[in-house]
Assembly symmetry: D3
Homo-oligomer: 255 residues x 6
């Protein structure tokens, strides 16, 4: 489908190999180590028996996230944010995105007065860390909800997660659309769009957009190009949701 | 075109009244006070004879922005960020967006080794402050470039600004697309998309996307809905570029 | 009266043109945009239904202020305090002064358990910003008190503001006293005294001092010189109080 | 002279017992432990072979100060500023005042490209700590200058300190002027004026004002009252300068 | 040897199972994931071509470390230090200890003008994280030195690492000495001693102490008890050094 | 006993002259100015009628400490931590040590729901400031407890302090053990061990260890050397406890 040369002959519309490892952190109520190619993110979901101040006595729960990159997750070492004394603008932007994206899948009232706090720590970064974080975080959240049901804190038949959430990056490289950019492709591409989608792996028609963040620094893009990118993003999101569903099926979890 | 009731009978695809006031800050090389309805943002462009460290000896310039809301620009008073000791994640996200958007219009090499630093201070907020900031900031930047030409720091025939930049919000309110949301519409809407476009007021075919930031918290949206929203955004962006051009024409400035 | 050459032939004991613009911020309970020559400060008074912790259950209110300069209010751009992560010593010193000065005019018990929080944001700075802030802040506070009476939160005949407050700078330039220094005069002068006075525009005998802050860096001053400076300051304060009274009369407000 | 009852029968125009202890810190180039009654401040002057950035290559020196109160210098323990993570507005205001006051006495060019950095640490506080800091800091600075001359870094006959500096508080208590307020008097007084004066102990006519900071929170004051307060302040400043001179004479130092 | 009941019947003088996983972070010059029982720490060594300011032009290198715990490495979630805006005192204490301990093994001159910066990130915590960090960090540093030799930045026969470094905790539980405490034992024990030792796995006589940090909060300990604890610590350190040596031998690395 | 040349011919196992000055801060419930040679630390104990949050409703008290060095307590001036905006890692490490050490001597239940907060401010530093702080802090705490008994807040016969606490440094200088290192010895020594001991001046057999912190940066030490160092530390601790007891006896205080 493509003349463009990608690493290991990957097709323009192909995802990198995806893998979910469960239980890396034995204490977390949901622990998912997601690997998309060489991008590896540990997504730990914690169940906290409290809600933020602005939700006090509102009879609902909350879902939020934090994001961080280990200093040497990247080619060259970056400063540790705890040492610099604050999170960068990029970090805050990403963790706000993860939180918003997950909340779009939750019935917060059904969750009850508790918080699911998801920590996304990037162990190794090769592009697409925010998307991998979202896709992994949804699975970690699903495991945490399953934990709440297994421990009978929430009734087994209560619908808490309304749908799946997966995120993927698409971009224009030398004018051509490509799916799931690695670090080299991301650095070189003209336009970069991150798409967060909701839906169900069992129904391709169910795909909807939660977030779309498209950026062109220097190379602008047309409506037609955007549409091709979104076609690819839908392909990717469907595949990711299927992978999520396989993991849950293996664990005999109905979300 | 719309059954939806908007303030003062505004049509679904209508912008609020737009107004540009120049020179509110007499020291700034470009000073634009943009009013979109009751949203008022002071955009001051400063020319600095230096570039950030990462551009040293790279023989090019830089364009960046900062954003802030006066504590009482909103219905109820917000804390001052300088008192809290840091900019919020939202503030950083917005000012990074403004900077990226403007850089997409600049030939940074033609700018020379200087920085155009644009301060967007929201005096009154009624929805759409980030979009108004971008639209006003482009005009302030154009005035600053004109200043550089008038003072012969840049040759009069040097092309520095490659195109216009304008931004507008669109959203879904009760399932229907609307353009240029005010605060009440923004708070109530299900999906909210900010679109930054490049182009020229003289050529409607020239419109391209620089940034698209679409967010649904709770109410997801389909590809078809996104396309309708983008149709409206294009209408809005064109009108804003025409308004920008009128101001420059009045000032006898060719950008 | 003076051989000293001032901008546009201003007399040594003359104020710059003064102007009060109301309602620039439509949400604030009192919004005054004060212009003293080219020094322009937006003073927004917010009524908050709470008091600081140290006044809890003390059955009284509080008046406080914050001060900030827009980055490009000055000839060259200054860093934004929210970016640097803290307010400078100068900023804190000024906002403490504004708060203290206003409190000297208030019957805090009559105010009830609420706070009047005044934000003084300097849009353009040409010397004397702290004095303009105080003079404008008093008027904004008076408008906020009028709002409280109009909305019947405070009885119409309750005396809340006990007197007027105005502030003015005086200084020694080449050994000669001058009133209301602009930026160039302020930078060049040997001694600089800011005087905050209370009183009533209707009774010149009522003038008293709330604050006097005199500073000589390098050029010290005698008791005789101080007395001449204070004579000028009284002239200025009276004229400012008359201007405040005209605005209130126009609005049919009895303070 | 006074019907007002002061601690231990002190007269309205009397200073508290004043004492200067030298060398408490053996490393400082000038170390003065000043005691004014129960207010005790350690003033250590350090000579640094560098100047702040804004003075680089300006061929002059600098004098600056920092101020701090030990947490238990007061009746009840206050938080430590290093723990809170920043200096309070009050602290910054005071240390800026000390620095400005001392610079008024220095020929900064004669000082050469070095900084005299004075640390004023309040060991015990009973009112008037900023004034005691200034009076003690001047003496510490004089010792540091003497050290520079003794070690032949500055020529013995070079005039570096142009005059003496001393500071004293005066206030109105129940309408009556008093000199050198202790903590109880300071808390209860209606108006509080800190006066920093320059001059020479050998010539009472030489007294001039460097700084005057008068504050009335609630109780305003008239010109006549201010004049009486300044009369007292002059008495106090003269006595303090004589005490400074005695110390220097004992040390056989000509300033 | 012991009546005390430990998890899974562990003897009082037995280490938990130890495991070193290499290359978890493919970018780091040395990447060691150390597991001591359920305590898992990722130790990434980065080679930086710079030294801290205080070593400029001193013709030597530097070794330093940073330490962090993932928020959900523990039983209950802890706040993220980057969000709180600073590293805790405990974190700083530990990372200073790791750095000092490693430097005791290095010939910093032989290292040349570069820094080995080791990031110890605790993925899962079950007691003894600081000791595991040191033991893993030494191995990561050895791999980084091997990398420098393999890439011919340092001569293959240059001795850079002078000896091995390993650390282990010992403690008194109900008055009895135990080795390598897990979280439950650590929380319950009366005295807790962390011992960092240098030496060589090939020569038990070579063991020396680099650091000893013994703490009794409430239950003090005698010289005799300390000596028994140190006997155990020596046993543990020797076993850890043997494990380190096996890894290096597998990699055919001579340190 | 020693060939090593120490300042003023001090023996290897000799303490510097020790002196306790009481009441330097008249407001503190216990104020001890400890001088060990040229190391001078002011230890002020404050009694606070509150406990930290984690002890609320636990029916016990707390003992904690803060530590700071005056900027010019050292040979060259150091930055003030309040200006830098945070306490250094070293400072936090030391104040945590002081707090832990004192708590080992307290029956916190007998103390009741109050906090003894000890501020250790180093006025002059010549090595061993953390040890002097601990030894002085214990005495200040004992005075504060005596104050609580004298004011009948605690019954006179209630045992609150269970034993004495004293700390001392020992080190290896050119391979030889020395006691109570001054700054020059500390900088030059190979291994440095701080030992905090509990016990009673009346019973040499009662000495136990609370903390031992031994550090070798570059020069490691053997078990035999450690034992000799601890012999010296015991000598020193006993002498310090006797000195503490003399002060209490002079004050007729039974701890």
């Amino acid at each position: 489908m493509s003349q463009l040369l990608r690493f290991e002959g990957r097709a323009a519309d192909a995802l990198r190999p995806i893998q979910f490892e469960l239980g890396l952190s034995k204490y977390a109520e949901g622990s998912v180590f997601i690997k998309m190619g060489e991008t590896h993110v540990l997504c730990n979901a914690s169940v906290l028996d409290k809600v933020p101040g602005f939700l006090r006595d509102k009879n609902q729960g909350w879902v939020t996230a934090e994001y961080s990159m280990l200093p040497r997750s990247t080619h060259t070492r970056s400063d540790r944010e705890a040492v610099r004394g604050k999170q960068s603008g990029r970090t805050q932007e990403i963790q706000r995105l993860i939180g918003r994206s997950l909340r779009a899948a939750f019935d917060l009232t059904a969750l009850g007065q508790r918080t699911i706090h998801i920590d996304c720590d990037v162990i190794q970064a090769d592009g697409g860390t925010r998307c991998a974080s979202i896709t992994g975080a949804w699975l970690a959240a699903a495991l945490a909800v399953a934990h709440l049901k297994r421990t009978e804190q929430i009734a087994a038949d209560q619908k808490v997660l309304l749908n799946q959430v997966a995120a993927i990056s698409v971009g224009l490289s030398q004018g051509q659309a490509i799916l799931d950019l690695d670090y080299v492709e991301d650095s070189g591409c003209g336009a970069d769009v991150n798409v967060v989608m909701s839906g169900s792996s069992q129904d391709p028609q169910s795909l909807r957009m939660i977030e779309i963040q498209g950026t062109a620094e220097g190379q602008v893009f047309s409506r037609a190009q955007l549409n091709q990118l979104l076609d690819y993003a839908e392909l990717g999101a469907q595949a990711l949701m299927q992978a999520q569903s396989h993991v849950l099926a293996d664990q005999k979890i109905l979300y």
